[in-house]
Amino acid sequence: MVFSSLLFLFRFLPCVIILYFITPSCMKNTWKNLVLFLASLVFYAWGEPIYIVLMLFSTVVDYINGGLAGYFVNKDNKKAAKFFVFLSVVINLSLLGVFKYTGFITDIWSQITGMHISVKELALPIGISFYTFQTMSYTIDVYRGDAKPEKNIINFGAYVTLFPQLIAGPIVRFKDISVMLKERSITASKLSYGAVRFIIGLGKKVILANQAGEIFNTVTAYTGENLTTISAWFGILMFALQIYFDFSGYSDMAIGLMSIFGFEIPENFNYPYMSKSITEFWRRWHISLGTWFKEYVYIPLGGSRKSMSKTFFNIFIVWFLTGLWHGASWNFIAWGMYFCFFLILEKLILLKVLDKLPSFFSHIYALIIIYCGWLLFAWEDIPYHRIFVGAMAGKTDAGFINTNTMYMIASNAILLVLLIVGSTNLPAKAGTWICSKNEIAANILKTFFIVGVFLLSIAYLVNGTYNPFLYFRF
């Protein structure tokens, strides 16, 4: 199930909300957590009922591993505790390996050895990349003493399966949420903040990202005579905007829903396209993933506290894994390596240079690097990269620009402006400024905003056959 569907909005969500709010919050929210746990299982099982087994398996295994790790930490038996952390990591990574990387690995194997192995490709269980990372964080946090093991399996199950962030993050570390699982308050401001945030996300996804995605797909489908230089550039620009609005929109919806249920979870995006360097971009883009790799891979490896060469090696490992995490395909690894290169370059000299430059130039630098990165990310198949890079460099029979391209740009000029302005912090600033004047007026305005964006999103959903979700494949 996805948030941007009529099923979620007009069947699932109202039912969950009513059950959640009539359930008493006694026994430290256990009953409310049970509602969330069961609802999440239904949410998860809707598309692939079989994989509910996987979900329950993950829950039970990590509950036991985390519990035992905690038990041995208490007994001061670090070795035994470490064993259970190790076990949890191995099991989680095996799940990822089997369901996500089998095809990729056998492909490589048969290319190297010439031996052909045929494996039945399994359907990727949605959100597996996200919840395996969450459950790993649980045992590690417990081992490190950052969080206490969760005794109540219902609470733990609710954490693992929590439907708002189950399928596309943010990746919430256990230590960020463990206290809230038992003690959280539901207030009017949290509810309304959640509602507004959810609607912002819905609009970003349904109204803006889907339109940008359609343009990108049109350009991708172009054959020789329509792929002009300008249309190739325009197509990638639309992809860059689509992926931001799609993914950050989904994070907005997740944060909004969590807020409605009384949770406060960390932000996942912070206007990444306003960055002045690649280092900054990765502090603003998919923050929860970056944090996860930093805390559970980069720092344990030694981070930047050791020699220069060790630091670069650590950066290399983290970015190789980040690339691989995005998909079982070479282009994602190449994408990770691409950023690795610029991050090391910036660490060596470039950041010092960028600091001295007027911010306009550093913005341009960062945007160009990010933009070219999407070129690697956009397709898994190599021919596309070649055709598009060629067309962008002017090697295309269609020429620089043609009537078709002009028509496409003229039809989407307004959308383009909205997308660009929407990816800066200007709308948020304007919103905060207006809402700071008078609380009652602000709430009335918010209500109108909700009604307007909601109705428009529904219109797009009712009419739309085009409603993919990009991060599903990760």
């Binding site: 569907s5 009529l6 099923l7 909005l9 007009f10 069947r11 969500l13 109202p14 909300i17 809707w46 598309g47 692939e48 009922p49 079989i50 009017a188 401001s189 509810l191 309304s192 959640g194 509602a195 507004v196 959810f198 609607i199 109204i207 339109q211 409605i260 009537t403 078709n404 002009m406 028509y407 003229a410 039809s411 989407n412 000029a413 307004i414 959308l415 609380e439 009652i440 709430n443 009335i444 918010k446 209500t447 905003f449 909700i450 009604v451 909601f454 109705l455 428009l456 529904i458 219109a459 797009y460 959903l461 009712v462 009419n463 739309g464």
Partner: protein, 375 residues
Amino acid sequence: MKRFFRLMPALTLIIMLFAGMFMGILQKDHTYSSAENRMLQKLPKPSAKKILRGKFQKKYETYLSDQFPKRDSWIKLQTTAERAFGKKESNGVYFGKDGYLLEKYTEEDFDEKLVKRNITALGKFVRQASKTSNVKVMMVPSKTYALDAYLPAFAETYDENIFYSQLKKELPDDVIVPVCDILQKNKNDYIYYRTDHHWTTLGAWYGYCSYLDAFGKNLKNADLKKEQKKVCDNFLGTTHSKVNMYSQKDEISIYEPKSKMKVIYNLGEKTENSFYQTKFLKKKDKYSVFFGGNQAVLEISGGKKNKKTLLMIKDSFANCFIPFIAEDYEKVIVVDMRHLNLGMSMLLKNYKPKDVLILYNSVQFMQDKEFAIKP
């Protein structure tokens, strides 16, 4: 009080979610959508097997979307929003200037082999009929091509000239009536419906003028234009159905001939004294006011007593054209090959017409799958 306002955004959202759910559950399901011309998904019956395989879930989601309360209005809202976003087309229809909705045609809409086959078959028939009759071919251009000045900036459509030059090559000289020229010359008149793919009665009158012109007759009938009578002003046609948005409605006018005419439908199925079936003006398909839509065979008499017979082989574009030409012949035989299981050469034998007119819309002719198989 402040607390209430603080809660207002959240309450509004929750109310809307519940309203949507209850309206959906309480309303009666529709089986058919006339706007989209298709059956709608009914509530699927769940079974353990279907649920485990995810089949029930898929159907249920289609069901929710198909049966969504006020579905048509939502689609209208979406199209209107698209226009506000600056989009210049929706579902293969351009939002043209002056309220014109113009179908977008691309090369993929036409099967080159089929077009060629139709042209060859037409050429063969024309040469055969020319032995005994005066033959004219009238290819009415598509609205998009004739009114390309109304297209949005930079919008492209299929260049019908490719088709016309192929046609010219295949047919003898002087057979083709240059209807495209006269229509393009008068593109500022109301010659095509804004929301339908057909030409208007005025457009057909221009076509009639160019037909007379092709015979070298001087245009005494030029004042016919004035006698058209508006019978309807709320017509929303086929192009509108494709986009389903708020648009300017069309007017339908008719021409009442001066003399009393007799129309025999489908070889004696029924006989009427009028070309028009006004009951269709109250239905959605208002263009069918002309002869009740496409009929296999019409036999019209009551025109000039000149012993002349006209055989018309035609598609729907002829329906509003016939009233003009009917008065010029003692007998007019109108045949729609798509509804008749008979070869065209048989018609020549049966009716021995003095004149033969083949009147088609270019797009419908190019896409006609049956034309070539009924020689």
